[in-house]
Symmetry: D2
Subunit: 298 residues, 4 copies
């Protein structure tokens, strides 16, 4: 069994520490919230690990990850290895690899999929970096991924950046899949031809072409709330969908479904739409069509 | 100058009577609202006209138009001519023509564009029916259309149904045009890079590639309300956009822009979206992502 | 074990006969192609079954199904039951039920999902009709559906039409899911950041959020042809996607993903696009932008 | 009358020189192609102008423009003014302004719309920069823009970058407008209900809601080629549409129409689509649906 430093013990990192330990690995965890960590600082983390060290970073993408990696570049030594398992943009990876490389430290970028279910089910993993670094970290990958053939939950996607790129596209697809189910659900809900919508969705779980893990989650959600009316139709987006669309544009790849899914999220968060006010204004101008004006209290 | 019966004196029909009279024609108008009509019933209308009669129907599409035409089939005589100038679905036209034809009455379907501005500017006209019937009604078409070469505001589009078909596609295009301006307006509004959005839109009126009559109307609207915030972003649709999309589907014609414009209107009218509740539910299920739950008073 | 007449022994019906017989049922099959059938005519089929009979129709949707049901209305007797398991439009079901009902014959509409895999895996089933008729046919439903809890592969969706409606929406969702994977695949393929695209897709099968049966089929396809370049990007559509979009429009439900998936299929079948010729023409007109003109052989 | 240096005498710059001279201005033009230029180098251009100089840059966006501006920073003097009238990305403007500012040189970014028609019709202009710099350049703006009220073809959109931002959004809208007309044209063309499609499009020029300058250009194109079949449906994109979509994403503004128009162009340039090969592969896998395989010559 092997030793791993793990930075970031939030929803994902906390569960991953559990799964790694259950597999017999020696995990030293650090988190800004020192109550959940095993050590109180990155420095302590570095000291607690035997060289050559492997440190897995699992903190929010963007500045927090870049900052953590910059600190690790100073704290770690030649021959160590840093793994970024967060949802970083793939364009960050070259910078990270180069910075760490100047200190002789290796780098892998890993896309980790599976959400809160990963602790028990295992995580799907997509990795970018050198063959040698991938081999070094393989015991941890094997512990984190689900049972079954390695190639069904793990891929060495390519060089530095390829892991996060694969994860980005994975999430773009995820946006499209979710929106496809969502449109179907709304149509069933609105049309009233099907009297028992949750029963139909539940029956799609076996034998049908649309069966999937996301569908099973939709069944779970409908079991708890058959009309989903405890929720608001308000959906955040986390960046990966936006990056996927930007990449599609950069590569001249048509992405009508992924963009539609992203725009539906944008719309869901608007209380009022400037675009639709413009359309309403135009209709009023040319046709004298009735419009809704805002109520003004006197 | 010629004589015309005009059924329906609403926003469109009323103005058209004005324009036809201004051109010297003898118009006998009828409306359910007898205060605006010249006669009190369809029967009186039929009696007031000299044979061979021409009656222009300008009532709401669907049942009202079909009903009016059925009544005219009984009241008019062989050699008369009925014109449906409303926004009827083109599939109604064959029925109308056949019904009237059994009585020896001719039929033209006319798409009329121009909205409330038509009274002064004239209306664009697209006509379906026989050459002979079109010739008979030409004095009225010439009076209704704007000045300038006839072919720039009038087309004999084809046989029965072709006029309404052309108008349907015209309106589908109109949906797309409006949404294109609207998206641009919202982006200017949201991004804050341009400090004077109404001034920019106003400056697009001459010389630019995007100049159009709709743009001029947007300028008018912004003159009255520079942020368009007296309005709600709530937009009705009247059927023509839906039919255009259905026709596109029937003809296997990709219509991503027209459909997007239509769906934006649907979304604008939803207080909450079942689809987006489903997406929110899925995100909560797999990721433990925060969602908005409905406030319960208690 | 029970007796069933089965009309239509094509790709679906043939396999279903196998699965029903494997479950011990007595199936009498008829097909226009008499080589695969057990009887040579619908009349023989009716004679071969003991009253009260149950006849499952599995022929192409539209005229063939309507025709078959009209013939069965004459050949069967009061107390018999007809099941339409084809991909009929749900609006046909009320007509079928009414026609058969005049002869005292019951009717169920069943959406059957699972494709060529259903013979071994079982089929997902969505049923519309009366509770009593559903109960009568339950032994066949239980034989056709996969193992596991009944409610995970079978739903009594509602009254007549609800089964086909649920299947229609299922297929609309299917269009969206496939297009989502397809866009992601194309982006991976085009961007070249990921060096081993098939390995990444394969690794999505366990643990990830996007795992599904369709994904497993994509893995199979990539195993056989890693770049999918033995195929042309030419995709038919079978009607269900079109109907889903039409229903969405009728119910004012935004369906940007399902429509985008359908339009992508339309586009895939066009050698040249009139719309894009129009855009090219416009660009040439205003900007003198270079366009591609067709080669003319001399 | 005032003196202007003009760098870049391509399709746009050449015409602008004509229009500026016709208005009485003294224009010294430079182009890499010395046959069309008045001077042979940027250095000569700088020498030929009397201080304080104004130099208008009209070269391809990106590296050529950045390079030209860097050279002008060295050649010009404090108090001079550089104007970038090309289709530069607005994010370049801050860099340009800062670089020139270090030499005491002013900077304006100008979006210029109107294409090859601008020489005779005038150009629509959107300007970013300081009030004082805008005032200095106003004689040239007034010469370039169409006749009529200044505010209908000219806007001081805001600070540095706002001119190009406004032009970017203008072009995004343009993509949407063109695609809307294009979809309508294809539907008319495909459906065959309208017998004379060019006549209908021509008749939309006066009175209708969809009348616009782009429509007039479509009429011109149809006059020359009634089915537009001398052209291929192959459409380039120049960057502005991509940037608009990226800005929409950055600002969480739904842009379904603009993105659909952009994706239609991407698709128009694909001989075969990897995405649609994936969909075809999936259909073959689950349904045994017929697919098109590539012909292999023996």
């Amino acid at each position: 069994m092997a030793q791993l430093g793990l930075v970031g013990l939030g929803k994902m990192g906390f569960n991953m520490r559990e799964r790694l330990r259950a597999a017999g690995h020696d995990v030293v965890g650090y988190d800004r919230n020192t109550e959940v960590g095993d050590v109180a600082s990155l420095q302590e983390l570095a000291s607690a690990l035997s060289a050559p060290r492997i440190v897995w970073v699992m903190v929010p993408a963007g500045e927090p990850t870049r900052q953590t990696i910059a600190e690790l570049a100073d704290l770690l030594d030649e021959g160590d290895l840093v793994i970024d398992g967060g949802n970083s943009r793939y364009t960050d990876d070259a910078h990270n690899a180069e910075l760490l490389g100047r200190h002789g430290i290796g780098y892998l970028d890993v896309g980790v999929s599976g959400g809160v279910w990963g602790k028990d089910n295992g995580y799907g993993l997509m990795v970018g970096g050198s063959e040698a670094d991938v081999e070094r970290a393989m015991p941890f990958f094997d512990a984190l991924r689900p049972e079954g053939p390695r190639e069904e939950s793990f891929a060495h996607a390519g060089g530095v950046g390829a892991g996060h790129y694969a994860k980005m596209v994975h999430n773009g697809i995820e946006y499209g899949l979710m929106q496809a189910y969502a449109e179907g659900f709304e149509l069933l809900d609105a049309s009233k031809v099907v009297q028992n919508v949750p029963a139909v969705v539940k029956a799609w779980q076996r034998g049908t072409v649309v069966r999937s893990w996301l569908l099973e989650l939709l069944v779970r959600a409908l079991d708890e709330d058959p009309e989903l009316d405890d929720l608001e139709g308000y959906v955040e987006d986390s960046g990966e969908g936006r990056w996927t669309l930007e990449e599609a544009v950069n590569n001249a790849v048509p992405a009508p479904v992924i963009s539609a899914a992203l725009f539906a999220r944008f719309s869901s968060r608007q209380e009022d739409s400037a675009a639709m006010r413009a359309v309403a204004a135009l209709r009023e101008q040319f046709g004298g069509h009735a419009v809704k004006t805002k109520k003004v209290s006197g």
